[in-house]
Symmetry: none
Subunit: 253 residues, 2 copies
DNA sequence: GTTGCGCCTCACCCGGCGTGAGGCTTCAGA
DNA sequence: TCTGAAGCCTCACGCCGGGTGAGGCGCAAC
């Protein structure tokens, strides 16, 4: 039940030449040859080929793949586990690139230009440490959330009306500033951002500058929030985020 | 404000030689040279470089990248969209490979052996139809969010305006029904809830009745959402939740 | 003014195949 | 039984995307 080069090549989606090459460099030597010299690949060869192709897809050079596969200390299951981990890491890296592109698109559609250097950094460099920070920011705020729930539960209708009026005033101010083309890091926008922060602190939970910045990120990254702001004025979500950042910087945070 | 080769190389995480190479083959010619012959890269050059690196990461040969980037019919935004789509496809492919490896691991740990040919097919060939269903089941929770991000990333300003108009119409209808004292489980309210669900499905992600009910809960439990609705009409958050529940029941879900 | 670093242009080299050339095997069909 | 088309074999050269010097100039600082 052994297969010829052509069969294997079609099965694996590679060329015959590639199999020849792997044979030449000793990476994958077919288990048998016919008396006429034809290569015949056994089941074990196919397994090895699959491993090779996976590591290749992951970017390993062929000689390293040979070392990895010929390590007598690791069996097939270990290989699979290692491959799995590498694959997962690769998807994570890809996700980073995707979000970078998404940000670039968002920035573009809303007319905010990143500096070219910023974009290169976004894409090229690795920033492993900001990842943890982001997760923290995202799920670490559960205390604030609890606080918020408790307070909100006791609000009367009058409270809601007051809250609503205040929120609307701030939103209107922001929308107006945004549509007027004011800079998000200008005095006025920063003041509005600070009012926004105060509003949250007063009505919901203690909103530190850090939490506030997290909210800003959320407004542009989570479409449900983005939509809320974009319906008030196009580009408002990003405008608000920038204003929040500028305001936090101004306060030395 | 132009940069030298060394600076650019460090920024982008590539070597000087690579930049020389790109200059040689005409893929990226620095905007200026000093009188001594030093390359000086402008902001535009950096933007182009970022695009180049993205396409390179996606596996395009350099000459094709040149063709893509020099196509006068496509602007930067179009490029970004195309890159985005390619990246998404690549992650999808990667995910397939991961599940294939996972299956191989499962089979191994349970002592069931796939035939080598099966494994090669799993890895190499395409199996599109079982893909969707299984991925759904597996990553179901975040799938909606992913979908949403993907779609939102490609929205134009006009899209946002349309979305906004639609959302406002629904909100106004809900607020009016609420203030008029209509029952949230009445025909009218249920119809509005259904329009709400359709709105989300159309613009963000496929919103099943179950997901919709989850959103309803969110609107009354998360103050950030509650506030949004309460500002439209007092009691609206709870009204909407009830309407959503009633609508889901009506549909037999 | 010289020291050190960064830049320049050749020019050769390497990995991972693609792409013939020239010749043998295999197998289906006439 | 013969024949032609695939498919296989072994050289052997070529291409892409750079790596890696060699040999020399430019420039800023001490």
């Amino acid at each position: 039940m052994s297969l010829t080069v052509g069969h294997v090549a079609r099965l694996a989606g590679i060329t015959v030449r590639t199999l020849h090459h792997y044979d030449e460099i000793g990476l994958l030597t077919p288990g048998e040859r016919t008396h006429a010299g034809y290569r015949r690949y056994t089941d074990d060869d196919l397994i090895r080929l699959q491993q090779i192709l996976l590591y290749r897809e992951l970017g390993f050079p062929l000689d390293e793949i040979a070392v990895i596969l010929d390590d007598p200390a690791t069996d097939e299951l270990t290989q699979l586990r290692r491959q799995h981990e590498l694959l997962v890491r690769k998807t994570e890296r890809l996700r980073e690139v995707i979000t970078a592109v998404e940000r670039a698109i968002e920035a573009r559609t809303r007319g905010i230009a990143l500096t070219p250097a910023e974009r290169l950094e976004l894409f090229g460099a690795f920033t492993p440490e900001d990842h943890d920070a982001e997760v923290e920011r995202r799920w670490g705020g559960s205390a604030a959330y609890e606080q918020s729930r408790r307070r909100v539960a006791s609000y009367t209708r009058a409270d809601w009306l007051e809250l609503r009026a205040e929120a609307e005033a701030i939103s209107r101010g922001l929308a107006a500033a945004c549509e007027a083309g004011l800079p998000p890091d200008g005095e006025h926008a920063m003041d509005l951002a600070e009012r926004h922060r105060g509003h949250i602190s007063r009505w919901f939970y203690t909103c530190t500058f850090e939490i506030h910045r997290g909210l800003g990120e959320l407004y542009v990254s989570d479409p449900r929030f983005t939509a809320t702001y974009e319906t008030l004025a196009p580009g408002l979500a990003a405008f608000l985020r920038s204003a929040i950042v500028a305001n936090a910087c101004r306060s030395g945070a």
